[in-house]
């Protein structure tokens, strides 16, 4: 035995005892089973809310945690009109023609479990305003992985539709990041995402449009963002990692490398600074990045950084006017009460929507989301100036593989009022649920 292994083994002896973990795990499994969490239906069961109330309103009560720490109950009344229902076809649609097809309402990818040509089926698609579905045939496809006889699907490369639905940004099979004009069909290749094809498929790509559609950012990695040293070291194959993120001006199509390996939190409208968090070296600062890609200002961010569960564009969104930013937090109440430690997910953690002042990095409000929202909750955009769209997505690999659900569960979209915390279902999907979803939130 070498000494590294010996030392590692010594460290394992410092591990805590298992104690009653087995009993707690069984209790948790029974509770989850009772609540239907992990099943194929959207379960909005919340303790204290009767089934009758749920049937009557379709919504749970949403406690509202104010800035001063007091919790008040806000009823979960519907906001706006009834939820729009969208049927996503399992059948593979036609490929996007070279000519234009018109603006898209959304871009999405399906899991396509049980479909014979699953890779083709799970390739990113768009739904245009005229109700037609198109396959983005040249987009980077997803990867299939077999494990113990079961096949799981890894998420395809990044794609996102612009807020007005007129453009689609995505990574092509050849590794080029492109912007496609959906009205004319024109495609502008911008830069290559470094890496081998095999690694591209595993890449962690995060794509974001600014609310006004003037700019777009892509953070990417051919291996994993974690692998990227900030100084652009060379990997064992001699391959230069290159930059890990780019800012694109979609009017001039000029690109500027972003300075930190991760992560863009918000891309405001106009020329306002890009907001980033260097989650590796100093997560407690909010970085304001100028148009030349340099850091203009460092704002204290520790208060919010403690609560944000993820760093990345899927989980934070800036409002159309650039005055508010929302993020997702996860709080374990029991642990928070006992130790003030919000990191743990030891019991049943609760997801919160954080409302943040992007100019100061300070927390404005915290809204607790219903119990069915979990760590896979994505912020899909702002429905208007006062509500954000939140969707629950069950993950991209292991959970989906194990749960063996027919399609992705829980993928409906809810509108949450950032001031009151009131919540209502905005979009629901038919039998086929999106595994990934990008909404043209600027469309009426």
């Amino acid at each position: 035995m070498n000494r590294l292994r010996h030392t590692l083994e010594e460290i394992t002896r410092e591990a805590p005892p298992v104690g009653d973990l087995a009993e707690r795990a069984v209790a948790r499994a029974r509770r989850r089973s009772r609540l239907g969490i992990g099943g194929s239906a959207v379960g909005l069961a919340v303790a204290g809310v009767t089934a009758a109330a749920l049937v009557a309103t379709g919504l749970p009560e949403v406690p509202l945690l104010r800035e001063d720490g007091n919790i008040t109950a806000a009823s979960g009344e519907r906001t706006g009109e009834a939820a729009e229902r969208i049927e996503l076809p399992e059948a593979t649609p036609d490929p996007l023609p070279a000519s234009g097809v018109g603006p898209a309402e959304l871009a999405y990818a399906l899991n396509c479990r049980g479909v014979s040509d699953r890779v083709e089926c799970a390739t990113p698609r768009i739904l245009t305003a005229d109700g037609r579905h198109w396959r983005v045939a040249d987009a980077l496809p997803p990867t299939l992985e077999e494990h113990n006889g079961q096949v799981s699907l890894q998420r395809p490369g990044g794609f996102a539709v612009s807020p007005d639905g007129s453009r689609l940004a995505y990574v092509r099979k050849d590794g080029k990041f492109v912007i496609r004009e959906l009205v004319t069909g024109d495609v502008t290749p911008l830069f290559s995402v470094s890496g081998k094809e095999e690694d591209l498929a595993w890449g962690d790509m995060r794509l974001r449009w600014s609310p006004d559609g003037r700019r777009v950012t892509l953070h990417y990695s051919s291996l994993d963002l974690d692998a990227y040293p900030p100084d652009g070291e060379v990997n064992p194959d001699g391959q230069d990692f290159g930059p890990t993120g780019m800012l694109v001006d979609t009017e001039t199509m000029e690109t500027v490398p972003l300075p930190a390996p991760c992560c863009v939190l918000a891309l405001p409208p106009g020329d306002r600074p890009v907001l980033m968090q260097d989650s590796y070296d100093n997560a407690s600062e909010l970085l304001a990045i100028g148009p030349d890609g340099t850091i203009q200002e460092r704002l204290p961010f520790d208060e919010v950084a403690r609560l944000l569960i993820y760093s990345g564009t899927e989980w934070t969104r800036i409002s159309p006017d650039g005055e508010s930013m929302v993020g997702i937090s996860m709080v374990d109440e029991g642990r928070e009460r006992s130790k003030g430690d919000t990191r743990s997910m030891s019991s049943d953690p609760r997801v919160e929507l954080l409302v943040i002042d992007p100019t100061t990095g300070r927390l404005r409000l915290r809204h607790r989301l219903p119990a069915s929202f979990n760590a896979n909750t994505d912020i899909l955009g702002w429905a208007d100036g006062s509500s954000v769209l939140a969707g629950e997505f069950p993950g991209d690999g292991f959970d989906a593989m194990l749960d063996e659900v027919p399609g992705w569960h829980g993928s409906d979209v809810y509108a949450v009022n950032v001031e009151t915390g009131q919540i209502g279902k905005a979009l629901e999907f038919g039998e086929a649920k999106p595994a990934l979803l990008s909404l043209a939130t600027g469309l009426p």
């Binding site: 000494r3 292994r5 973990l21 991760c262 569960i309 760093s311």
Partner: protein, 177 residues
């Protein structure tokens, strides 16, 4: 039949070994408990289906690594240790077992979760690169790159532990067995 029959016995028999790995991965006692509980909860929910296959530990270990790596985004914001690494002393100081253990543990905490997972799989569990890749749902090339970067970073963080890295360096590209 109770759908969880045999589950508690399994945890009693193999739970501590799994906890050891969880602790190596997280470097934190509370987080190790949390991680293992998450994994055991998933295992319990699927116990009836997994048990007839006869290898719940393989399932649990796979889940442990993947769950841990899936936590990486969750923990990015909190994982920077507050303590500074101990100043690397001379080789005689570092030779002290306890100091080496503490130094390595703190250095591991400075790695990214995926790098830590790769090191534990490769050099604690003696997994081959192919096995590690399968467990972590990534390519063999990724395992190689991550291993290289992890060792490089460990060496930079803990010059006094360079002898530990040197011992295993020749095997990092050829597999441990």
């Amino acid at each position: 039949m109770d759908r969880y029959e045999g589950f508690c016995e399994f945890v009693a028999a193999r739970g501590q070994a799994l906890m050891g790995t969880a602790y190596l991965l997280t470097g934190d006692r509370h987080l190790a408990e949390d991680l293992l509980q998450d994994v055991l909860s998933k295992l319990a929910r699927r116990w009836r289906r997994i048990r007839p296959d006869g290898n719940p530990e393989a399932y649990a270990r796979t889940a442990l690594y993947r769950e841990y790596v899936s936590w990486r985004r969750v923990r990015r914001n909190q994982e920077l240790p507050s303590e500074n690494l101990p100043e690397p002393g001379g080789s005689e100081d570092i030779a002290d077992q306890a100091v080496r253990r503490i130094t390595l543990r703190q250095a591991l905490a400075r790695l990214t979760p995926r790098q830590r997972a790769v090191l534990v799989l490769r050099f604690y569990e003696d997994r081959t690169e192919a096995e590690t890749a399968r467990l972590m749902e990534c390519s063999v090339g990724t395992v190689k790159s991550q291993t290289h970067l992890a060792l490089k970073r460990l060496r930079a963080l803990t010059p006094g532990l360079g002898d530990l890295m040197t011992e295993i360096e020749p095997t990092t590209t050829g597999g441990m067995r």
